[in-house]
């Protein structure tokens, strides 16, 4: 994809170009780009040594570790179950099919704070699920496991909604061809279907991961927020802000943003590469 579209040679027949582009660029710059640049400015002011100093705080390091680690775990779970969900929704027809299809987007529509307190109520030691789990000696609420649970909820739709359209477009002949060549069901899935849905799966995984790293509302209730145990990076930003340590808050934000953008860029590159290679044959 080229960053610069080609300039149209013909005179513009449709009016409003200057007005709409002007408003778009001005609004975007004022509302989004200028404020985001503040993070870069703040990080620049701190310099590498300043950021390094803040990073060397074990509490910061641990919070980042928890945020990235739990997001990775949750995105992995969602990759597996999201693929299964997409498969079932595309391939099977059963009573309630449409309802479930609509319900998949609940995590997008439900405010995160509501999800947070609902999950906490469920997984707390006296909650519906927490009670039976604590009988098994598993503690979910107020541990990193609780964070993973919240992030599974939040990230659930990403993989489903990425993989679903690709599975829908998959020509049945591809699998039939593999079957005539002697491939078993497992071989067909692993060697034919999985490679075909891999780019979409990767996209969904990454979006779930990126969302999980930055997630705040659904996590802080169930996490318990114990420093060095279950404290996430976004919460540490809030805490630093409340302590008026704006520099530290901005530094953590800068690190999170850099990593997130790097991952998104990487994914875009992988997508472009796979599109180029696979074409639409």
């Amino acid at each position: 994809m080229s960053w610069f579209g080609s300039r149209s040679a013909s005179p513009r027949v449709i009016p409003g170009f200057g007005l709409t582009l002007g408003i778009t660029v001005a609004y975007l710059s004022l509302v989004a780009l200028l404020p985001l640049a503040m993070i870069a400015m703040q990080a620049f002011r701190l310099g590498l040594s300043g950021i390094g100093h803040i990073l060397s705080d074990p509490r910061t390091l641990h919070a980042l570790y928890i945020s990235f680690g739990t997001a990775l775990a949750a995105a992995t779970v969602n990759a597996v179950f999201g693929t299964l969900l997409a498969w079932v929704l595309v391939r099977y027809r059963f009573p309630g099919h449409r309802l479930i299809d609509a319900l998949i987007d609940l995590p997008f529509a439900l405010p995160t704070a509501v999800a947070g307190i609902a999950l906490t109520a469920l997984y707390a030691p006296n909650g519906w699920i927490g009670k039976s789990l604590s009988g098994l000696g598993i503690k979910v609420a107020y541990t990193p496991l609780g964070i993973v649970i919240a992030l599974i909820f939040i990230g659930l739709p990403f993989v489903v909604r990425s993989v679903q359209p690709v599975l829908e477009d998959l020509a049945p002949e591809i699998e039939e061809a593999a079957a005539t060549l002697g491939a078993s069901q497992g071989q067909r899935f692993c060697r034919i279907i999985l490679p075909l849905i891999a780019p979409a799966l990767l996209t969904g995984f990454t979006m779930a991961f990126a969302r999980g790293v930055g997630e705040y509302g659904s996590v802080i209730f169930i996490a318990g927020n114990i420093p060095m145990i279950s404290e996430i990076a976004p919460l540490l930003i809030v805490i630093r802000l409340e302590e008026f340590r704006t520099d530290a808050a901005a530094a953590i934000a800068a690190i999170m943003l850099t990593v997130s953008f790097a991952i998104l860029l990487l994914i875009n590159l992988i997508q472009a590469w796979s599109r180029k290679r696979l074409g639409d044959a």
Binding site: G182, R277, L278, A281
Partner: protein
């Protein structure tokens, strides 16, 4: 391998009958075309042979043994799909070697042997040098040949092709057609292919089965199919035909007062019948020739390559017919619109 198909029925969801009592035998090493209009059931029949569809009734036998209950995987059929169904995440070589690479470890050849076999097949289909390309980087004809090589790699007992040339442009189509025939003669696989293109079916195959409404209308070598079609459908479906309503009484064929020739040999009962005459089976002469015939008037004249198509109307009752004249004859006698002409009939088919 010999294929016997006995009384096969298949209905689809919604109750429409795709196969309606199919019976046929395909001899070992034969190249057979399943020809029919779209929706005739020809593709369903091919898929039933492959095991991609399960018949509701009837039996399919490979070399005398039933394959009912045998999974697609176990039938060892080489199937080439209409749109090739290549695995786009794999290179050409990986596509071709797929069937061998998924064999259970005990039966699987060594990696080197698999590659050697794939390359040998790619040589056979004339695709050397493209081993490491992806399907998206190939032309339609090349993809078609990859699909063929991939199907041949598992050493299939029978090769099944669904509209093998349907998605290709006219020139590539012709080349591939000739090439497929040569390949068949060299490898000797029993081959069945589906087509809706009669020229393709007649030119390429040993025998053609015309399928209509889920039944075999007629199965015969191309010349017989064209010359002595078994049913009116086959006659009108294969090549152009002029169709005349006639009455037969006492060995006399009558159409608006003209006596027309009787098909030979025949077993026609008296009464109304349909007469089919191919455009090239008419002879057209000047009126002053004094020979007997049907007096007609020339309506249009169209040049079509080596042939000239002339539309005529019977002077007596206005029946319209289409006649084909070789260009050489036409140059000797250039017919013009409005000319009167005497038409005689050399050959007819009657049902």
């Amino acid at each position: 391998m010999r294929i016997d198909i006995h009384d096969v029925y298949k209905a689809f969801e919604g109750g429409s009958r795709a196969l309606n009592g199919i019976n046929m035998t395909i001899a070992d090493g034969e190249l057979v075309a399943l020809l029919g209009p779209s929706g005739s059931g020809k593709t369903t029949l091919l898929r039933a042979i492959a095991g991609l569809e399960n018949p509701d009734h009837g039996d399919i036998l490979f070399n005398g043994g039933t394959v009912a209950g045998h999974d697609v995987r176990d039938r060892k059929v080489g199937f080439v799909f209409q749109h090739y169904a290549l695995f786009k995440t794999m290179t050409v070589r990986k596509n071709v070697s797929f069937g061998l690479s998924i064999l259970p470890r005990k039966q699987r050849p060594s990696k080197a042997a698999i590659i050697a076999r794939a390359d040998e097949l790619l040589h056979l289909v004339q695709l050397e040098g493209l081993e490491n390309r992806y399907p998206s980087q190939l032309s339609g004809g090349q993809r078609q040949r990859v699909a063929l090589a991939r199907a041949l790699a598992i050493e299939p007992s029978v090769l099944l092709l669904d509209e093998p040339f349907g998605a290709l442009d006219a020139k590539v189509r012709k080349d591939l057609r000739r090439w497929l025939r040569e390949l068949h003669d060299r490898t000797g696989h029993t081959t069945v292919f589906v087509t809706h293109d009669q020229e393709e079916a007649l030119e390429l195959s040993d025998r053609v089965a015309v399928i209509h409404q889920g039944r075999v209308e007629h199965m015969a070598p191309p010349a017989e199919l064209y010359g002595q079609p078994a049913t009116p459908f086959v006659c009108s479906f294969l090549g152009a035909s002029n169709q005349l309503e006639v009455t037969v009484s006492k060995d006399q064929v009558l159409h608006c007062g003209h006596a027309l020739p009787l098909p030979r040999p025949h077993s026609i009962t008296d009464g109304p019948h349909q007469l089919f005459i191919r455009p090239h089976e008419f002879q057209i002469r000047s009126v002053d020739d004094q020979t007997p015939g049907i007096l007609c008037r020339v309506e249009t004249v169209r040049l079509s390559g080596a042939l000239v198509r002339i539309d005529l109307r019977f002077a007596a009752c206005g029946t319209a017919i289409e006649v084909e004249v070789p260009i050489l004859d036409f140059e000797r006698h250039p017919w013009k619109v409005g000319d009167a002409a005497m038409v005689t009939i050399r050959n007819v088919r009657m049902f």
